[in-house]
């Protein structure tokens, strides 16, 4: 195993004519160029607009300083949004990864016809968010949906699913987990394949239990893949938008009004570009902190094969 930092200590003499600074920049140039145009420029503009009231065209019109920020931090709606966002992340990320891992372990068995099951498990990958959301909308429909039909068959009382503030966020989370499972499954299965089968065989000879193998061999060796999936899931979860737009529109009573949807509504429906910008800046700062923490914590725990 090689620690990621190894190369940091090595100093390679620059023997080439080109200074490494210039060469490094050459490799980075395409990305830097695009980032500047399509990310930094809009972001700076967003920061700039967050201090203004804007006209219909979204141009800055009246300087209001930090008013948008103070309004947001004081408003209950913003706090509800933050809470909904955090809860949504909490509902979707761990459950989604555990489900995908379970399916991947299941599909990693050497059985006849396993290819069929693998295809099925990864099939949600091909479903777009828009299409999946519509299907789930039908399933959640309290009148005709399969959700309540099933509840009835099992003798349980009907649920309001998307219509009650208590269950709406969880319902959206369930559909989101389903949508993301295909991709996570596929990646985790790939990760499992990469684990040296000799390790399992020696484990078998030593006579350890399946669970022990999972905990001591599989999971540690899978950790780079897991870090990848955790990061992707976190980003996706924070940016969830499509399903909310179709399933709940942020309701009922703003219980699913996650911050990204709130930004969308302010920017694209209410045309409060200023307020939307301020929310975007706050979200940016917030995710930045979470990500830094995650990397700090995550990188230490990841094992490289």
């Amino acid at each position: 195993m090689i620690a990621g930092k190894a190369q940091g200590q090595l100093k390679i003499k620059a023997r080439r004519s080109m200074p490494s600074f210039v060469e490094g920049l050459l490799y980075l140039l395409p990305s830097i160029l695009l980032f500047s145009v399509f990310l930094f420029y809009p972001m700076l503009k967003t920061i700039y607009l967050s201090f203004f009231l804007t006209d219909a065209q979204g141009n800055a019109e009246l300087f209001v300083g930090l008013e948008h920020y103070s309004n947001l931090l004081q408003s209950t709606a913003f706090r509800t949004s933050m809470k909904a966002t955090l809860l949504f992340v909490l509902y979707t990320v761990p459950a989604g990864i555990i489900l995908a891992l379970f399916l991947a372990l299941l599909a990693n068995q050497k059985l006849k016809g396993i290819g069929f099951f693998r295809t099925i498990f990864s099939s949600t990958m091909g479903m777009s968010v828009a299409a999946s959301s519509v299907i789930w909308l039908f399933m959640y429909n309290p009148a005709i949906g399969l959700g309540n039909m099933m509840m009835k068959t099992f003798g349980m009382s009907e649920m309001q699913w998307l219509l009650s503030p208590d269950t709406a966020l969880i319902s959206v989370a369930i559909s989101t987990i389903w949508m993301n499972t295909g991709f996570s499954f596929m990646i985790l299965l790939g990760g499992l394949h990469n684990i040296d089968s000799h390790l399992y065989e020696s484990g078998k000879i030593a006579g350890v239990s399946d669970f022990y193998t999972l905990r001591k061999i599989t999971l540690p060796l899978l950790s780079p893949t897991l870090l990848f999936i955790v990061t992707v899931s976190l980003i996706n979860s924070f940016q969830t938008f499509g399903q909310i737009d179709i399933l709940t529109k942020g309701g009922p009573m703003e219980s699913t009004n996650v911050i990204v949807y709130s930004i969308y509504k302010d920017a694209f429906v209410n045309f409060n570009i200023g307020s939307a910008s301020a929310q975007a800046v706050l979200l940016f700062a917030f995710i930045l902190i979470v990500t830094i923490l995650q990397f700090k914590w995550g990188e230490k725990r990841v094992h490289y094969q």
Binding site: P30, L34, F121, A130, G145
Partner: protein, 270 residues
Amino acid sequence: MSIWKKSFLYMLLSVAAFIMFFPILYAFLISFMQGGEVLQGKIIPSDFSFTNYESAVQKVPLLRYLWNSFVVSTLIMVGQVLFCCLAAFAFTFIQFKGRNVLFLIFISTMMIPWEATMVPNFQTVRALGWTDTYLGLSVPFFAMAFGTFLLRQQFKTIPMEMYEATQVAGVNRFQFLFKVVLPVSKTSLVTLAIYCFLSAWNMYLWPLLVTNDERMRTVQIGLKQMQSQELATEWGVVMAGVVMVILPTLILLFLGQKRLQEGLTRGAVK
């Protein structure tokens, strides 16, 4: 493996497969329903005819849209993987001043919410004259911090001794990237490629903004185009569209399953 364990596994697999596949199956069933059948809460359509499929194709130029989505997604995939490779390579194998700061800046772009960038970027693309072109649809997404980060993680697992050895052998950096680094990073590259392709395939608002011409529009717009506002939507037709959109992906997944897994395994660093 004992027969008991085997049958238990098969049972588990079947149950899981049924649950996972059910929503897609449901969409498939709806795609055959006529008129009010969907809203009356039926599950099994009264008859399996392909009229919905016919009208889905007639309503929007779905094949053209599929082609566009395919082209755009492929372009974005190739562009992203290429740009990310270059950037990640620089961040791993080239020592230069300010590298860490630059990396941090790169990473921070990951957190910029897309809503904030959409409208200014549309103005930029318009100023460049890229509306209604594949360029406008794909180029803004070529650079991705997340991909750079992922590949950097992967590249860091490559022993530095390997790099030094090639240096001694007189191989230049660029060759090192293509001859050594990329082949051993196949897994990550494929993973990243799939991720890029899928995110691109799912785009809706951006393609809607930068295209006016029907010949340049993508599948997700097509699906939205089939749904009415205020009037009752013909869900059978929409679902027929959905099924047609996912069918190619499903077939690809099934056929590619084995090869993809093999590829993933072969590319692994041992």
